[in-house]
Amino acid sequence: MKHLTQISDLSREQALRLLDVAWEFSAVAERRVPKLPTLRGVTMVNLFFEDSTRTRLSFEAAARRLSADVMTFQVHGSSVSKGESLKDTAQTVEAMGADIIVIRHFASGAAKRLADSGWVTGAVINAGDGIFEHPTQALLDAATLRQRHHQDPLGKDLAGVHLVIVGDIAHSRVARSNVALMATLGAAVTLVGPPELMPRGVEQWPVQVTSDFDEALATKPDAVMMLRVQRERIAPDSFPTPDDYRRRYCLSSARAATLVDHAVVMHPGPMNRGMEIASDVADSSRSVILDQVRNGVSVRMAALYEVWGDRRE
């Protein structure tokens, strides 16, 4: 695929292929020399309009493992105090030699806007835009689930897997990308959260929706993904209050104890320990949070490889 701006860019075949390539790449990490020469001479630029150390480092690690050159262009300013424009910064980094632009932006749809704009000829990968999508996050989540669900994951999808996602769904690009990808891969998804934090039109999404976390847990899901809740949205004077939220939606030790044996706990990070997830649950053997991080590097390697290959064809 030429760009990866949203999950719907990927057909089922493309998504599976990407995950399979990522699986092969994950073996590279164990090798004496954990590097491949594949993208030597290719320049990847992190064009970040928003701060994000983890995503940025993950993409950097992915690029370096493939011997690509990496640059980071951190744009200062925000949606309020506008910095340099998207068009100008994109053209600047391309003039500096960027072949692949990995973009993180505060505006929903900025990655697709850049990909379709015609301002740059390089490939565009969305590293999170506003509250729209974060495709590589969903892919690493799917990779993690796939490994847990299948002994030999190559070529397999997620049919039969039930994932519960909990949190502020309305403002979560991780949720949007995961809902789209899980549907493509055949997994069942239940969204859990306060009704005020559910997106408009969620009834039309290919998911079950409930505001009752315990009800969702009673359906014996295979995985529970906790989303970080932004402090601004559950301030003491808002509804729900932090205490309300914790009581109803925190993955406490008690709730985690009701999970079936093989069920795993996921989180895109960074975590608010004690808010949406109890500390000991985050550190328990059920938690695959670090696997997610590891898979993040190989999935991003696969994404870089796939968009580069498409460009070359």
């Binding site: 929903s108 749809g109 900025a110 408009r200 039109g201 969620v202």
Partner: protein, 435 residues
Amino acid sequence: MSEYLIVGARVNGGASGDLAISHGVFVLPEELSRGASTLEAEGLVALPGLVDLHTHVRQPGGEQAETVLTGSQAAALGGFSAIHAMANTTPVADTVTVTNQVWELGRDAGYVDVRPVGAVSKGLLGAELAAISDMASSPAKVRVFSDDGHCVSDSALMRRALELVASLGGVVAQHSQDPALTRGAQMNEGALAGRLGLSGWPGVAEETIIARDVLLAQSVGARLHVCHVSTAGSVEVIAWAKSRGIAVTAEVTPHHLLLSEDMVAAFDPRFKVNPPLRRSEDTLALREAVGQGIIDIVATDHAPHPSESKDCSFEEAAFGMLGLETALPVVLHTLVEPGHISMGDVGRILSSGPAKIGSLRGYEFPLALGSPAHLTLVDPAQAANPVRGSLSSNNPFEGLALPGSVRYTFFGGIQTVENGHLCEPERVSRKKGEI
């Protein structure tokens, strides 16, 4: 040079006939002198010069995007002989200084009648009334007052404005948008906005203001004009008001007749506008409303923007679309072709109707003997001309196949468009004395 014989045009889309222009008015062909130019108009439809009740010309203050001159030129290319220049300039047109300036610039340019619109409130801030009486009694004779871009949301201020403007024989044109319900809004509120992660602008924020305003207008016996109606719900409110005899008129933009919110799915800021593109059901309801007369006219809300205001992410982009040069083609495509109105009705919704609402004289007896020679000749069989008059290029209809090429336009007997091309400013300008 100022005499023309137009041969074989389908007058108002009806029977073929000849039209003759001399000294700025329509005359009998026999009255023309031998020096008159002849224009072969077979196959062309003759319509009265179009009147836009809602145009954004960005002068003073935004000349990068459009000036009175370039806006007038774009209008002429679209078949217009009059436009109403909205007040949200920099500085705002809330005093005679600015309205006079716009009026003079329009007369200097000479392509169309540029009618300045006066602001309702000072600075468009919605707190104090602007210098409305002054603007009404100025040489420009301002009769349309609007804070467009902003809603006059304070009910007390709206009521006072309605009363005052009514006493001056004018009309308040309201941009209906409850600010409390639309903070940070980017696109139509609904399932698509939920999926795209863009803040929603609910239809009810428009409908509640219209409902309030029609009742206010009724209570003080004033006329109300509703700008850019965008939802089926608004149509219902206006229909109710009309059935109660309330003096309300309404306009719809060409883009709300043709485009729906699906265009936003690719986050292209060309499709970002206020009020936003709505659902296809709304575009259908709006077309039917024009056919039924619930919506009286089509007005472009021509809103030019410099490229940097659209060459960015959707959220950061400015709201607004060009519309002067594509209005007639869109009307032909969305209203005439599907049969909501006939070609004979086009003059009412794009010329005499808006002129009447704006109290603009000279359009009451279109194409009739003795009337000012405001005229446009369009070829409905040819594809619409490319958009080239405006300084800006934020055209949402780019790439769409629309019917109707404007071949000739006349403003008070002065030819402004010849053979689909703009006539040179020297030919058109009235600065150099009488024609």
